[in-house]
Structures are given as structure tokens and as C-alpha cells.
Amino acid sequence: MKIIFDRVCSSGGLQDLSLELLVERVCVINDSTELQGKRILNTIIGLDEIISGSLTIDGIPWLEFISHQPMPRVFGYVFDEAVMLSNLSLRENLLLPYRMLNDDKADDNFETEVQDWMRQFGLSLDLASRPNVIRPPELKLLGFIRPLLFSPRLLLIDNPYYLLNEPQRCTVLEVLNRLKSSLPLLILSSDSDFNRGFAAQIIKI
């Protein structure tokens, strides 16, 4: 997947950004301040509006690219913080996009897929619980699972190690290592694990 920013100004603060990201397997944005990198991810996922310039993906304008399929099927986004809707249970949180997008796949495969991903991430949680009773690192790991349930075309990960302890970081790295052969990853991180030998392309900002 080839993502080209051509003189993009965004509502989030990108100023005349021209950048080419070639995400064949893994592309890492190494931004020590994380500010600019976050703006780039936010623009790709549509959280920040493009005010001027153009963003194309595989030569197709961004708006056209995302218009053919529901957003979660195109881009998955792993937030740096453990973001969940606090008034819904964990299961409802994971199911919400399915319900809203009228995706029948949810009812058939949801439980099996979630349990499989939870096992891979070393999680054992009661999905009927509310997010406020779950520890942030565990919510963060669920934050990885949520977009993966949709099999997106590109997974954007904002600071994968944030909130996680050492064993959890190893687990995440292991899962991402397995994933990178089948799913293109765009990772914002200045961590050495992702900047030494993990990525096919490293963009230093």
C-alpha cells in the first residue's frame, strides 16, 4: 500500500506535509515527539480533516478509497491509550462497529474470533465487565483485538508499547511479528524493537 501526502494541511496541525509511505509489510514512523506522527495517523484514519493538499492511497484519492467499504474494513486503528466507550461492556464495545455496520459475520464468528485473539494476547477477561473495572494495560491489549476482528487492509498502531509492561510488550511484539506477513502495519513508535530489523521502511521525522 502506497500512501502519498502531497502538501497536506490538516485540521490537526499538519502544515504542507509531503511524504511517501510504502507499507508493503511494516512501515514505522520514528517521531521522538510523536506529535507529527500522530497527526499523520489521524489524517489517514480521518480523525483530522484535510484542509488543503491531497492524500492518495495506491493512487486513489483518500475519500474515494474509503468510500467502497466500511472504515473498519479499510483501516484499523490501535489507540495509544486504552480507549473504550465507558457506558458499554467490553463485549458491547467490541461488537458496536459490527452492529452499526450491519455485519452479519459478528453473530456467527464473534465469540470464537475474540477468544482466539485473547489467547494470542495472553488475556483472560470477563467480556461482560465494564471498561472501568479493567486495568489499562489489558484494555490496551483489547484495543489491539478490536480492529483485528474486522481484518482491515491496513493496521495503524499508535505507540504499541504505551501502558504495557515488559512481558506484555514481548507478547505484542510476538503477535505483530506473526501478523506482518499477512497484514500491512503502519506503526508510530520510537522504540528500538520496531526501529531495528522489524520494519521494511522506517520514516524518521
Partner: protein, 256 residues
């Protein structure tokens, strides 16, 4: 995400208003509107407010009858007390007081909840799924608050009339049937129409203003109470203003 230093303008409100009304009137095929959010809003705004509304309506009905009777009886017109009840309570106070109660309970709750959702990036989360926060959070609340306002105002009227009759027993032994006959004779079609229109307009104002202020929070949790205060003040101002407009229009139409 906007620049945090950027100030909100009146145009932002009208843009939000236009978008919300557009999405509220284009429900067909819009799966982003949540029935669960709608039902929870009706439950919180309507059902859970019933005890407070009952107490206020009973008190207002009784006070209006007591004051009205003491005033009218000095002119020997104590039997016109029904007119006071219809004019003051049914035409004016029921929808206005209900709206103030809903602003105090639900307006603040909506603004605070949405403000906290912005701070905790829950709005960003919805947008990352491609879900419209306006459809999912605001449209459901608009319909929920409007429906609850309609129900609560009707309930207020019933309790206030019953309260009026109960208090009237203190100074005159009027029968319930006679009291209601006098009341129904004074009740005009215009009063009923006004009682349907006002709660819907007030409900729309409360939901829109509170949602707008809540979603205008940018980054800091200290903005949440500030926005909530603005939601209350702006809702009250707009409710009084729209009340004046509706009453004036009714008056103009009734006397033409």
C-alpha cells in the same frame, strides 16, 4: 481535531444545528442511530424525573389555586379560578417548569457526558470506526429528550390539575366532577396545541444546546463544567425566547 486555541463561533453552532437536524430527519437506512441510547435517554429524562415533576406540579397547582382564589374571591369571582389554572399552569408554567427541570437534570448530564467522552477520546473512537458521533450520540438524544418532554409536560398538567382540585378543598367543597367540568370548559384547542408544540421545541433546544456544548470540549477536563454551565445558561435563554415567540404567535393567531 481542531486547534485547541481555536474559539467556537456562532457559525459552528449553526453548522452543528444544521447537521444534527439533517441527520435527525434522515433516519431511513441510518444504522448509526442507536435505539439503546434513545431508550436510555427517555428512561433518564422522563421516567426518573417523574417524582420531582410530581412534587413540583402538585405544589404549583395548589399554589395557583390558592393565590387565584384569594385574589378572585375579593371581587366575588372565585368561580373563575379554573381560568387561572388553564391560563397560568396549562398554557405557560407546565412546559416551562418541566423544561427547567429537564435542563437541570438532563441538559447538564448530556453536556457532561459528551464532554467527558471527548476528553477520553471516545468520540475519536467512534469516528475511527466511521461512525457519525452526531447520529449515534446526538440524534438519539434529540428524540429522547423531545419524547420525554412531551410525556413529562402532559404528566405535569394532569398532576397540577389534580393538585389544584385537592387544594381547592381547603376553601370550597367543590366536587371533582364539577371542578373538572369548569376546567374543561376553559380548556381550548389552542391550549392543547400549544401544549404539544412547546415541549417539543424546548426538548429540541435542550438536546441540541447541551450536545453542542458537550462536544465543544477540546482537550481538558476543566472545560467540562464550563461547557455545562454554558449549556444551562444558553438553554434557559433560548427556552424563554422561544416561549415568548410561541406565545406571541398563538396570541396573534387567536385574535385575528
Amino acid at each position: 481535531m481542531r486547534n485547541p486555541s481555536e474559539k467556537k463561533s456562532i457559525l459552528d453552532f449553526f453548522s452543528f444545528l444544521g447537521l444534527s437536524l439533517y441527520e435527525a430527519t434522515h433516519l431511513k437506512g441510518n444504522r448509526h442511530v442507536s435505539l439503546m441510547v434513545l431508550m436510555r435517554q427517555i428512561l433518564f429524562t422522563g421516567y426518573e424525573a417523574l417524582p420531582l415533576i410530581s412534587f413540583i406540579a402538585l405544589g404549583i397547582g395548589g399554589l395557583v389555586i390558592l393565590q387565584g382564589y384569594s385574589l378572585l374571591s375579593t371581587f366575588g369571582q372565585g368561580n373563575l379560578v379554573h381560568m387561572i389554572l388553564v391560563t397560568v399552569v396549562i398554557n405557560e408554567m407546565s412546559s416551562l417548569i418541566t423544561a427547567l427541570v429537564v435542563v437541570a437534570r438532563s441538559g447538564t448530564a448530556i453536556s457532561t457526558e459528551l464532554g467527558n467522552m471527548v476528553v477520553h477520546r471516545e468520540i475519536d473512537l467512534l469516528r475511527s470506526f466511521g461512525l457519525s458521533p452526531i447520529s449515534y450520540l446526538v440524534v438519539s438524544r434529540i428524540y429522547g429528550v423531545m419524547a420525554a418532554m412531551l410525556i413529562l409536560t402532559a404528566y405535569f398538567n394532569i398532576v397540577a390539575v389534580l393538585g389544584g382540585w385537592m387544594f381547592s378543598q381547603l376553601f370550597s367543597n367543590i366536587e371533582f366532577r364539577a371542578f373538572m367540568n369548569g376546567f374543561l370548559l376553559e380548556l381550548k384547542l389552542s391550549s392543547i396545541i400549544v401544549n404539544l408544540v412547546k415541549p417539543l421545541v424546548f426538548g429540541l433546544i435542550i438536546a441540541l444546546v447541551s450536545s453542542y456544548e458537550g462536544m465543544s470540549v477540546r482537550q481538558s477536563s476543566t472545560e467540562v463544567p464550563q461547557r455545562t454551565i454554558r449549556a444551562v445558561v444558553n438553554s434557559i435563554v433560548l427556552i424563554i425566547f422561544s416561549d415568548l415567540v410561541i406565545t406571541w404567535l398563538t396570541w396573534v393567531l387567536a385574535f385575528r
